[in-house]
C-alpha cells in the first residue's frame, strides 16, 4: 500500500484493516462477476463450464482443509480425516440422500477420532 495507514492507528485500526485487507480483496471478485455475467443466460453452455470451474475450485478448498489442515484438526491423523469424510459421504447415501445425516455422521467420526488421538 502506497498511502499512509498510520493516521488510522487507534480504535479504528481493526476496522480499517478489515475493509482494506479483508473486505475489498474478497469483494472485488463479486464486483468483477457482475460485469462478466452480463449477457449470460441460464442454461447456456458457458455457465455449465463456469459452474464446473467453481466446483473444482471448491474441491481444491476441501483438499487443502482435509489434507493440510491447521490448528486442532492437524492433530487428527490424515487417514482418520479421510475416513471421517468418506463416512459422511456414505451416511449421505445410506440416509436416503440426507445432507444432514452426512454432516452429522462425519462430525461424530471426526470428533471421536480427535478425542481418541489426544487432541486435548
Amino acid at each position: 500500500m502506497t498511502f499512509d495507514l498510520s493516521a488510522l492507528q487507534g480504535d479504528l485500526w481493526p476496522y480499517a484493516l478489515l475493509i482494506l485487507v479483508g473486505f475489498l480483496p474478497s469483494e472485488i471478485w463479486r464486483w468483477l462477476a457482475v460485469f462478466l455475467s452480463r449477457g449470460l443466460h441460464e442454461g447456456s453452455q458457458i455457465l455449465v463450464w463456469v459452474r464446473a470451474v467453481a466446483t473444482a475450485l471448491l474441491a481444491g478448498v476441501v483438499a487443502r482443509l482435509v489434507f493440510s489442515p491447521s490448528g486442532a484438526l492437524a492433530a487428527v491423523p490424515l487417514a482418520l480425516r479421510c475416513a471421517a469424510l468418506a463416512g459422511g459421504l456414505a451416511a449421505f447415501w445410506l440416509g436416503r440422500r440426507s445432507v444432514f445425516a452426512g454432516i452429522f455422521a462425519g462430525e461424530v467420526l471426526l470428533v471421536a477420532a480427535a478425542w481418541a488421538y489426544g487432541a486435548s
Binding site: P14, L18, F23, A56, L57, L65, S68, G88, V99
Partner: protein, 254 residues
C-alpha cells in the same frame, strides 16, 4: 431429516404462493433448517481467531458481514496473528476468495429480472458465498421466476444473520472449547462442501469437477507457488470436467 425428496416437496409448495413476503419467509425457514447453522458453526473459529489477535467483538462480527467468506477470514486473522505484511495478506485473502468469481457469475443469471440496475446486482452479489451458492444452485432453478429473488434474499440473509451471531459466540468462547470440538468445527466446512456438492450435482460435469478438483489440488499445491494453486485447480479441473461431461453426453445422444 432433510433429503432431496423434501426439497422437491418444498418447491412444489412454493410455486403455489405469489406473495414476495411469503417467499422471503420460506427462504428464511429453509435456511434455518440446517444450512445457516452449518455455515454459522463453521465461523465460530473465526470469532476465536479475532479474539486472539486483540480485535474488538464488533470488528469480528463485521468481518463475517463484510467479507462473508470463511477461508478468507481465517487467512485474514491468521495472517495478522503471524505478523504478515499487509499487501501480502491482502493478496492471500484475495486469492483464497477466487471461487467467488465463478460462483457469482453462475448465480446472477438465475436472479435476473428486467430493469435490474447495477446497484441491485452488486447488492445481490455480496450475498454469494459457498453455502448460499450451493443451496441456490440446487433450489432456485425449480422455483418460478417471480419467487426466486425474495426466496434468495430470505435464505441468504438468514445465513448471514446466524453466522454473524455465531462469530460473536466464537469470540466470547475463545479458548474455552475443548480441542476435539474445535477440530470438529474446523472439519465442518470441508465435510459440508463435499456432501452438498454431491447432493447438488445435476450434470456429469458437476460430479467430475469435484473429483478432478480433489485430484488436481495436491499436485497444484506442490508445483504452483504464491497461492495461485487454487485458481489453477479450478481452471484445469473444471475445464477437464466440462470437456469430459460434454463428450459423455455427446456419445450418449449419438
Amino acid at each position: 431429516m432433510i433429503s432431496s425428496d423434501e426439497t422437491t416437496a418444498e418447491v412444489t409448495e412454493a410455486s403455489a404462493s405469489h406473495s414476495p413476503l411469503a417467499e422471503f419467509g420460506r427462504g428464511v425457514r429453509h435456511a434455518l433448517g440446517y444450512p445457516a447453522w452449518v455455515v454459522g458453526f463453521s465461523l465460530v473459529g473465526v470469532g476465536s481467531l479475532a479474539h486472539d489477535v486483540g480485535h474488538p467483538l464488533a470488528a469480528a462480527v463485521l468481518s463475517t458481514i463484510l467479507v462473508w467468506a470463511g477461508p478468507g477470514q481465517v487467512i485474514f486473522y491468521g495472517g495478522l496473528a503471524a505478523g504478515a505484511t499487509l499487501p501480502a495478506l491482502a493478496l492471500a485473502v484475495s486469492l483464497s476468495s477466487t471461487r467467488l468469481l465463478p460462483m457469482t457469475v453462475s448465480l446472477l443469471p438465475l436472479l435476473r429480472r428486467s430493469g435490474q440496475g447495477l446497484g441491485q446486482q452488486f447488492f445481490l452479489a455480496h450475498y454469494v458465498a459457498v453455502t448460499v451458492w450451493m443451496e441456490s444452485q440446487r433450489r432456485l432453478p425449480r422455483l418460478p421466476a417471480h419467487a426466486r429473488l425474495p426466496y434468495f434474499l430470505g435464505f441468504a440473509n438468514a445465513c448471514l444473520a446466524v453466522s454473524a451471531v455465531m462469530t460473536g459466540v466464537g469470540y466470547v468462547l475463545a479458548g474455552a472449547l475443548p480441542l476435539p470440538l474445535v477440530a470438529g468445527l474446523l472439519f465442518l466446512s470441508p465435510l459440508y462442501f463435499s456432501v452438498s456438492i454431491i447432493a447438488g450435482a445435476r450434470l456429469p460435469a458437476d460430479w467430475l469437477a469435484f473429483g478432478f478438483g480433489l485430484l488436481v489440488a495436491p499436485v497444484a499445491a506442490r508445483w504452483i507457488a504464491g497461492g495461485f494453486d487454487l485458481m489453477a485447480t479450478g481452471l484445469v479441473g473444471g475445464t477437464a470436467a466440462y470437456l469430459a461431461g460434454h463428450l459423455r453426453s455427446r456419445r450418449g445422444s449419438a
